[in-house]
């Protein structure tokens, strides 16, 4: 009977005694000396500084690697027919920049900025003239509250990230009821032929 009681006591999941030779001590019993606590507080301060510097360095590295500060460009025209402009990556003036068009915050289209822009070349912004872009303005209901934004694409983190960077501000434009069947401008046709 005593044996059974002992087994019940030992194997009860709610037993609070420790049946090993040494009692279980989950919590520290006495505080360490003040000198040790001082060392601990210094270690905590040092760790906080190291981690703060690490996060700052990480943030700076992220900004540096994901934002290209060398995009220069402009949206020269935005209306119910086309949205035109130019963009150059001054760090690599020979490359064609991919641009994305958003109207009122919605993605519309993307293309390479490779339309001829002699004025960009003559201004000394690039090594060649092919840095313009011309987007067809999509069919939109008549109104005056349209906002076009064009973003240059920057490929970062070895291709893992594609960052859209705005190189010029928004352009407001309106659409009238007679916008259909508008003639295609020369610059757009030329750009389409190059593609």
């Amino acid at each position: 009977m005593n044996r059974l009681k002992h087994l019940l006591r030992v194997y009860s999941p709610f037993a609070t005694d420790d049946f090993s030779s040494t009692p279980a001590t989950a919590a520290p019993q006495t505080p360490p000396p003040v000198s040790r606590l001082s060392r601990l507080s210094r270690a905590l301060v040092a760790k906080s500084i190291v981690e703060a510097l690490f996060v700052v360095a990480l943030g700076v590295y992220f900004a540096y690697s994901n934002v290209n500060p060398f995009f220069r460009g402009s949206i020269d025209k935005a209306d119910q027919r086309t949205i035109e402009g130019w963009v150059v990556n001054e760090a690599q003036p020979g490359e064609r920049v991919e641009v994305h068009l958003y109207i009122n915050g919605h993605f519309v289209s993307r293309r390479l900025a490779d339309a001829p822009r002699a004025d960009v070349l003559s201004a000394g912004r690039s090594f060649d003239a092919y840095h313009g872009f011309v987007f067809h303005t999509p069919s939109l209901p008549p109104g005056n509250a349209y906002e076009a934004r064009v973003y240059a694409t920057h490929v970062a983190a070895s291709g893992a990230r594609r960052v859209l960077q705005e190189f010029d501000g928004a352009r407001q434009f309106g659409v009238t009821a007679e916008a259909k069947n508008a003639p295609v401008p020369d610059a757009l046709r030329e750009s389409e032929e190059r593609r």
Partner: protein
């Protein structure tokens, strides 16, 4: 100095030391939690190289080891022992069965019972193999119990509900923003913190961690658990 005055001075010094020890314990908990959050949210979001995770992880472990040394904690006290394994296991059995029942019930009632015990699914690569499940559980239980639980007991007092709830809540917080995983880790945190305060044995807790993780990924669908991802990775 008279004996009475010396006693009073010693008493004041000891109470100041105890107060400082409690304040530092709270800071230690926050510091380790911050390291984990930095790893989960800053490194995975901003860093392009996962090896950078080593920085906050090493900082946290360096602090934990140094703190154990300064506070004079032995491996045995921390739970690296085998003599109380069965006692810890006994304490774990009923809460684990209850927790598993809750998970099965949630899987059945909320997700229509799409159980997959033994099948390859979310988290299998880490948790499916017993060795990895146990090792990963051991690492987490060491940080959670041997460090955070012990420091929480310093701050809130040992054996009370406050320290157990704080440990569980912190464990859930570190699994943000995965809602189902946060619920599961809060539940698991309550069980493991309760058991550790009565029978500090990391091996039993690690085994329980591995088993409950297996039950979790077998009862809830992968879409709900999002591959057990936490932090910024949850969105990726």
């Amino acid at each position: 100095m008279t004996d009475a005055r010396r006693d009073a001075s010693d008493g004041t010094s000891q109470s100041a030391s105890a107060l400082e020890s409690r304040a530092l314990a709270a800071w230690e908990i926050v510091s380790v939690a911050v390291s984990t959050l930095v790893a989960e949210w800053a490194v995975l979001a901003l860093g392009s190289d996962k090896t950078l995770l080593a920085v906050p992880v090493l900082c946290a472990f360096a602090l934990m080891f140094y703190s154990h040394y300064l506070r004079g904690e032995t491996l045995r006290e921390l739970g690296w022992r085998t003599d109380n394994f069965w006692r810890a296991a006994r304490l774990l059995i009923i809460p684990m069965l209850a927790g598993s029942f809750v998970l099965v019930a949630v899987g059945w009632l909320w997700f229509g019972g799409s159980f997959s015990f033994g099948a390859r699914r979310a988290g299998w690569a880490i948790f499916g193999f017993p060795v990895w499940g146990f090792a990963w559980g051991l690492l987490q239980q060491y940080a959670l119990q041997s460090f955070i639980n012990r420091r929480a007991q310093l701050v809130f007092g040992g054996g009370g509900a406050a320290s157990i709830v704080v440990v569980a809540a912190l464990f859930a917080l570190l699994h943000l923003p995965n809602p189902w995983l946060m619920c599961a880790t809060f539940l698991g945190g309550l069980i493991w913190a309760f058991v550790y305060q009565r029978a500090p044995n990391l091996y039993a807790l690690a085994l329980s961690h591995a088993v409950l993780t297996w039950v979790l990924i077998s009862t809830l669908p992968p879409d709900a658990l999002r591959g057990l991802r936490v932090g910024y990775k949850y969105f990726g």
